[in-house]
């Protein structure tokens, strides 16, 4: 296990989370999220720590990690872009957004991360934000009604190390008389 350890705070949070569930194993997703938030990805060494905390074999942890699409088994770029490509978003131009990311910004879903290490782009399935399609999640932030121009703003903020632009709020289609 040389080379990877969790902070004491993370380990404490993990143990506290695991104790909330009827079986330790049920705390595994929680434990994996704590690992990924601290380390950026879930390495084999980290899986061994999680395995010993929840009392199952590392192979069973690997089985869980690889079932879910949001766990990174290798370090992703500093910012993870998830562009929805399912029907509503595709009808509303998701393909254009993906092309723009690739052609204008060199951010390509075919690569693990961009050469500068700043970006990972994933084409993902329905993000439950179809009312303002196309939708894109950047790290934990949802962007809707995404355009080439809004992509430019978000990418620029990432490159300059600034905080991400504020996303649109409220309910799509909502009017003051209550949609």
């Amino acid at each position: 296990m040389a080379g990877f350890s969790l902070s004491d705070a993370a380990l404490r949070r993990m143990r506290e989370a695991i104790s909330r569930f009827p079986t330790p194993r049920a705390g595994i997703l929680h434990a994996l999220w704590i690992v990924q938030e601290e380390a950026g990805h879930v390495s084999r060494e980290a899986m061994e720590i999680v395995a010993s905390e929840v009392g199952i074999s590392p192979a069973h942890v690997l089985e869980v990690v690889t079932f879910y699409t949001m766990f990174h088994t290798e370090p992703p770029g500093k910012h993870v872009f998830q562009v929805c490509r399912t029907l509503s978003c595709e009808l509303m131009g998701a393909g254009r957004i993906l092309d723009h990311l690739r052609d204008r910004h060199g951010i390509d879903a075919g690569k693990k991360r961009s050469a500068d290490g700043l970006f990972t782009l994933q084409e993902v399935e329905c993000l439950a934000a179809c009312g303002r399609a196309p939708a894109m999640q950047v790290d934990d932030v949802f962007y809707e009604s995404v355009t080439e121009a809004s992509v430019d703003g978000i990418v620029a903020a990432c490159r300059e190390g600034k905080s991400l632009p504020k996303p649109e709020e409220g309910v799509p289609g909502w009017t003051s008389n209550g949609s």
Binding site: P22, E125, A128, A133, V171, S176, G178
Partner: protein, 445 residues
């Protein structure tokens, strides 16, 4: 439209996430009434309201609750699972309930927990809803501090109050299926279970478990506060109450609309959504999330948005994710998109689904780029026949229904692709990577 709001009454209210604001608008009155009642009486009240599961199946909620065996109590704990793993394509309702009115969902959760005698309620969020879960967790802390629920570790509440434990998934459509969700909650891959036994008898951790959708849960405070009759006064026939309709695709004003069940689909599309964008014509509508049979523009006429009317029209209300397609859309491309989705999301347990979704996707990719053959249509329909009703869960059916309906209702487009290599429609394709990939594959073979 004028009717009593059940689910969105607090949308647009300033600071709607705060417990004080929620309580100031009648919030937690339904819970107080429920807790003064015998749990079985709460279940009876919900039965009388006619509330049906809003996740897609439309099963009567009170009846589902009554399947929890009485004999098991107190030998085994009973669990409530609130399904916040919203992921049916075209559906975007639960995220706004959880984000803008978290206490409505918390109150509903506590009412349901009381009715089924659960001391633990799990709320399972899809992984992408991290920020929404953060809002919800903060509201749960507030409810705990006000003595409405025990703390997540089980302390507080003098052993008399249930606790709410939230959990975050990590990206898997199948975890929205109730037994897939239970498996995931137990810390495993989200493989759906063979039923029976149904979760109400043997669910999470071997215990009786009720899984309810967020929107179902969110209707409970209204029903308990105002009585079942007032809820049942909304809606029509066996489809009572209101529903959140999610409209997406090329209409002028897509969005989320609460309407009584039985509301005309035409009114929703024309009056509320302003009709098809850019003066184009309506071509097709998926009325209940991507899994249900598609309706042609002609079939949309006269259809009412309730369980029975949509079944009579040959489709389903499902999750009420309404996806609109205009006359520029190529239906072969649209179906290819859905086939990719189901192929990607198949958990792989059952061969007809694991293989069938992949075969269907590969055939459609071939057809969409003009490399298909006429016999592909028959192969596609035969794959669909061999997927339907042959698997543990309904994911295979969820692709078979679109395949059958798209091919039957838009057959000429599929034939044009098979015979002439394409059609006049737009192929929006993500396409680009997808189509390029398909072309490379076709060229290599």
């Amino acid at each position: 439209m004028d009717f009593e709001r059940v689910l969105t009454a607090n949308f647009g209210v300033e600071n709607s996430r705060a417990l004080s604001v929620y309580a100031g608008r009648g919030g937690y009155e339904g819970l107080a009434k429920a807790r003064a009642m015998d749990p079985d009486a709460v279940t009876e009240e919900v039965k009388k309201s006619g509330l049906r599961g809003r996740g897609g199946a439309g099963f009567p909620t009170g009846m589902k609750w009554s399947f929890v065996p009485k004999a098991a109590i107190p030998a085994k704990p009973v669990y409530l699972c609130v399904n916040a793993d919203e992921s049916e394509p075209g559906t975007f309702k639960d995220r706004y309930l959880l984000d803008l009115d978290p206490h409505l969902v918390i109150e509903g959760t506590l009412i349901a927990a009381h009715a089924i005698r659960a001391m633990t309620a799990f709320v399972y969020f899809r992984g992408e809803f991290k920020n929404v879960k953060g809002v919800f967790d903060a509201a749960v802390r507030e409810a705990e501090e006000k003595g409405l629920a025990a703390r997540a570790d089980g302390t507080g509440g003098d052993g008399a109050l249930p606790r709410i434990v939230t959990i975050r998934g990590a990206g898997a459509y199948i975890c929205g299926e109730e037994t897939g969700l239970i498996e995931s909650l137990e810390g495993k891959r989200g493989f759906p279970r063979i039923k029976p036994p149904f979760p109400a008898v043997v669910g999470a951790f071997g215990s009786p478990t009720i899984v309810n959708n967020v929107e179902t849960i969110a209707a409970l405070p209204f029903i308990l506060r105002n009585g079942a009759a007032r809820y049942a006064a909304l809606g029509t026939g066996k489809s009572l109450g209101t529903k959140l309709f999610c409209v997406s695709g090329p209409v002028e004003n897509p969005g989320l609309f609460e309407r009584p069940l039985g509301y005309p689909l035409r009114s929703l599309l024309e009056s509320d959504c302003g009709g098809v964008r850019g003066g184009r014509k309506l071509k097709a509508v998926v009325p209940g999330g991507s899994s249900v049979p598609v309706l042609t523009a002609a079939e949309v006429e006269g259809v009412l948005l309730d369980y029975e009317s949509l079944a009579a029209a040959g489709s389903m209300l499902g999750s009420a994710g309404i996806i609109v397609m205009d006359d520029s859309t190529c239906m072969v491309a649209a179906l290819t998109n859905l086939a990719r989705f189901y192929s990607h999301e198949s958990c792989g347990q059952c061969s007809p689904c694991r293989e069938g979704t992949g075969w269907a996707h590969r055939i459609l990719k071939r057809l969409v780029v003009g490399k298909g053959e006429e016999k592909d249509l028959e192969i596609l329909c035969s794959i669909s026949r061999n997927m339907r009703g042959k698997t543990i869960c309904v994911l295979a059916d969820a692709l078979a229904m679109p395949i059958d309906s798209y091919v039957a209702k838009f057959r000429s487009e599929f034939e044009a692709h098979a015979r002439d290599g394409g059609c006049a429609g737009v192929h929006p394709g993500r396409s680009i990577s997808d189509l390029a990939g398909a072309q490379a594959e076709a060229a290599a073979s």
